[in-house]
Amino acid sequence: MTVLFVLITVSAFVAAIFLGAFIWSVKTGQFDDSYTPSVRALFDDAKPVEKKPKQDNSSKNENE
């Protein structure tokens, strides 16, 4: 029974940490623009590459 006291206290602290994280993210402006990051996530990473001539893919192992 007494373990409940410990568990509840610990969970309260963990929740408080999350609240702190939320406050920090708002402070650093991560919630100022809620639209653009969603678009940014869809961009391709790599640097712009030169157009490669059509390759014969048989030599490449693309499975993984």
């Binding site: 029974m1 006291f5 929740a15 408080a16 653009t36 712009p48």
Partner: protein, 800 residues
């Protein structure tokens, strides 16, 4: 039979009959081809895969000294967001941002120039923040780079002011976070009490949980609920009971009753309802606070003016800030540039377009020695002016300030929800007091807790949520339909309107579209028309541009000996044939028709008069039907700064002569609105230009129409996209239905209140009952309100 024209690979516009081909791809103009080549060179192909046709049409201009003012140290320091040793950061407003490819391109500016280290786009605000190395690239070059790929930033005098960042939005998020954290945890800690059953719980555990509830609820009261409490208190001191009063009453009753029970060990309290209540209220507030960040409804003259102009000092051109201009300075105003101050013409011939300021659709010609007022745009060759008044003293600024001062404040506390709240508070308090007195007699100790129970359950929660969600939802629906309003209060104001006043130029007429008709003994054949077009193309006079646009699909010919005689006409030679376009005098024709009414361009080939083109402004599509429909429910007026040439044509729609007025100055317009208001009418003014600014603020609701909503428009309550103009009556209807929805939702919340009160008055209000009632009533109201506003929008737009 018509072969479908190709679409430009870059911007998607129609390439017309003669697309420019490069690399086997069609382009509509040299500009688009140029940008494509540039991107090709830097190998940024991905731009074209992102979206079908992301580019925006490019103008073929050279920048010259257009951005020269960006070399000025003072201007740079005001515009930069920060400067940290090597690196500087600037945030520019780029209204051309319109799709994901724009974001991609602008965030890869570093591949276009290595001096730019990082750039980030805020799509909603249409801003790009660029971090760059001062030593590698200057601010001016950055702006020129952006302009060359046609993402020209708009930099106005407004940007020179210190901008205060919007911190208030963040405050709401913090409060929401704290309330949400408390709500979730307290609910969890209250579960044992709900499910305790007959056995009960270990009292030590229960008091531990109670203690936690209390501790976590304190920041909610002190921080998250602060705004409501302060507002109620402030209003109370002025003797006003607004909607925050019953809310605060509920908050305080909940907290104090619960705190008392917990501290004295007599119960578990209602902290779950308390934190839930505040959490839902804040969600409602957040939902209601939607703003359109890329649009501004509160612009003043500074957003209209450029920062700098060319000053002539000792025969040399020097770029100066307009705020530094003093009486006697000489300035140079080029084609399409704004005249920022009241001045006298010293050199050149002025052809000034005041359509935005006074509503006159035709440019004014001024000669050397004549005075020219601020606010107009020079259309034609560059002119030199002598400054008469500083920017602050000029007529334009005065006009603006005049329209702002002495106006009836629009946001009075007298809106519907405040009125109902007053009634609500009084009724609830009387029930509470009566019940308490009755219980004193029956069973004294319980009297006080019953008193607070009544206050707790008489939840203005549903009341407080129905407005934010219904107006907030309606505002979003409007936004999707092209009607952007400043805040939710505007919806209520629109529903109360009984009179509509329209401006003419630019509001009911289309801005860049004219009807061009040709009158002559013999029609001009295709080749002759193409000659006319080629000559007209050489001039920048609005009539020439209109003529060119009308004929632009024809072949272009090479023109020699082009000559423009300002205010008279233009001429040019094509294949040894002399083509002259101009007014009657220029062509040598004697025409007694009143030229002030319709603009006419006479044509002659080899000095032989052939006929004339007449230009008539085109009215917006669906205008007739719209006015006829509106007249059924509203009184419809027309005030125009333009002449009354079209009076008869407009009478067909507006019908009542006494409601149509022409040649009105901006001050006349404001006065007209004021007079109507004195008669007790509730007015919505629909305009588009600076000349409407006064009338727009004076009216109960001011709406502007814009072809490009990101362009400057005067201070107003709402912006309507011009393509949605014919749906104006629909927006009025929907505002009214939003009000109806709110009224019905009040009834729903009333039902819940009655149920809840019956529990409370009888002393049966346990924490569970309270905890169940409130979320259910809130959810019902929110769901109902959302569904019915969406339904109303769906049904009325289907009817069209």
């Amino acid at each position: 039979m018509a072969k479908k024209n190709q679409k430009c690979i870059h911007c998607g516009e129609d390439c017309g009959k003669y697309p420019i081909i490069w690399d086997d791809k069609p382009f509509c103009c040299n500009g688009c081809k140029m940008v494509y080549q540039m991107l090709n060179e830097k190998q940024m192909y991905t731009y074209y895969e992102m979206d079908k046709n992301p580019g925006v049409r490019v103008d073929e201009h050279e920048f010259g000294s257009k951005f020269a003012y960006l070399d000025d140290e003072e201007i740079i320091s005001k515009l930069l967001e920060f400067k940290d040793g090597d690196y500087s950061k600037v945030t520019l407003y780029v209204p051309a941002i319109h799709c994901t490819s724009c974001i991609w391109l602008l965030e890869h500016l570093n591949t276009l120039h290595p001096g730019i280290t990082h750039s980030m786009v805020n799509f909603i605000k249409k801003e790009v923040s660029i971090t760059f190395k001062e030593s590698d690239i200057s601010l001016r070059k950055i702006v020129e780079l952006l302009a060359s790929i046609h993402y020209t930033p708009t930099i106005t005098l407004d940007d020179m002011d210190e901008k205060s960042k919007k911190k208030e939005d963040r405050q709401l998020l913090f409060k929401l976070g704290v309330a949400g954290f408390a709500f979730g945890n307290i609910m969890m800690w209250s579960l044992p009490d709900y499910f305790a059953g007959d056995q009960g719980i270990d009292p030590a555990l229960q008091s531990f949980l109670n203690f936690l509830n209390l501790v976590v609820a304190i920041p909610v009261l002190v921080y998250s609920a602060r705004d409501y409490l302060l507002s109620a208190f402030k209003n109370l001191r002025h003797g006003v009971l607004n909607t925050d009063f019953p809310i605060s009453l509920g908050i305080i009753a909940l907290f104090s009753q619960s705190a008392f029970e917990i501290l004295s060990g007599t119960g578990t309290g209602y902290m779950d309802s308390f934190s839930g209540f505040i959490f839902f209220l804040l969600i409602g507030k957040w939902y209601q606070n939607k703003t359109y960040q890329a649009l501004t409804f509160d612009r003043d003259y500074k957003s209209y003016f450029p920062i700098a102009i060319t000053k002539i000092v000792d025969g040399e051109e020097k770029v100066t800030q307009i705020k530094n201009l003093v009486e006697g300075d000489r300035i140079l105003v080029r084609h399409h540039e704004l005249i920022p101050v009241d001045a006298t013409l010293v050199k050149g011939i002025a052809n000034v377009d005041y359509s935005f300021v006074t509503g006159e659709s035709r440019p004014l010609n001024k000669l050397v020695g004549e005075d020219i007022y601020a606010g107009g745009k020079q259309m034609g060759a560059a002119i030199e002016l002598k400054v008469n008044k500083t920017v602050d003293q000029s007529s334009l600024t005065k006009l603006w300030n005049q329209s702002e001062g002495g106006i009836v404040p629009k946001n009075t506390l007298n809106n519907m929800v405040d009125r109902i709240s007053k009634w609500f508070t009084i009724v609830v308090l009387s029930i509470a007091v009566t019940t308490m007195l009755v219980w004193f007699i029956i069973d004294a100790p319980r009297a006080i807790s019953i008193f607070t129970a009544v206050l707790i359950v008489a939840c203005p929660c549903a009341l407080a949520l129905s407005i934010p969600f219904s107006y907030g939802n309606m505002m979003r629906i409007f936004g999707k339909m092209g009607f952007y309003i400043k805040n939710t209060q505007v919806i209520e104001n629109i529903s109360k309107v009984d009179t509509i006043v329209f401006d003419k130029t630019g509001t009911i007429t289309q801005n860049n579209s004219v009807n061009v008709d040709y009158e002559g003994d013999k029609e001009l054949d295709r080749e002759e028309l193409s000659f006319v077009m080629s000559v007209a193309r050489q001039s920048t006079h609005p009539l020439s541009t209109a003529l060119y646009q009308h004929l632009q699909n024809l072949e272009s010919h090479y023109v020699t000996d082009f000559k423009e005689v300002t205010a008279k006409g233009i001429q040019g030679k094509i294949n040894n044939c002399l083509i002259k376009l101009g007014n009657a005098e220029f062509i040598g024709v004697d025409d007694k028709t009143d030229n002030a009414v319709f603009s006419r361009v006479y044509v002659s080939f080899d000095d032989q008069y052939r006929g004339y083109f007449s230009f008539e402004s085109r009215y917006r599509e669906g205008l007739g039907d719209l006015i006829t429909q509106l007249r059924k429910t509203y009184e419809v007026h027309l005030i125009s700064g333009d002449n009354d040439a079209d009076r008869n044509k407009l009478k067909a729609w507006f019908v009542d002569d006494s409601y149509m007025h022409f040649n009105q100055t901006p001050a006349d317009k404001l006065e007209y609105i004021r007079k109507l208001q004195e008669q007790g009418r509730n007015i919505i003014m629909i305009g588009d230009g600076l000349n409407d600014a006064g009338a727009l603020s004076q009216s109960n609701v001011g709406m502007t129409i814009a072809d490009d909503i990101y362009n400057f428009s005067p201070a107003c309550d709402g912006i309507l996209e011009s393509r949605e103009f014919s749906r104006l009556s629909l927006f009025f209807k929907l505002s009214k239905s939003a009000i109806k929805t709110v009224k019905i939702s009040f009834l729903i919340s009333l039902v819940y209140n009655i149920i809840g009160l019956s529990f409370a008055v009888n002393g049966f209000l346990t924490p569970i009952v309270a905890a169940i009632l409130m979320p259910i009533s809130s959810v019902t109201v929110v769901v109902f309100v959302t569904i019915s506003t969406n339904l109303a929008a769906l049904l009325s737009s289907k009817k069209k």
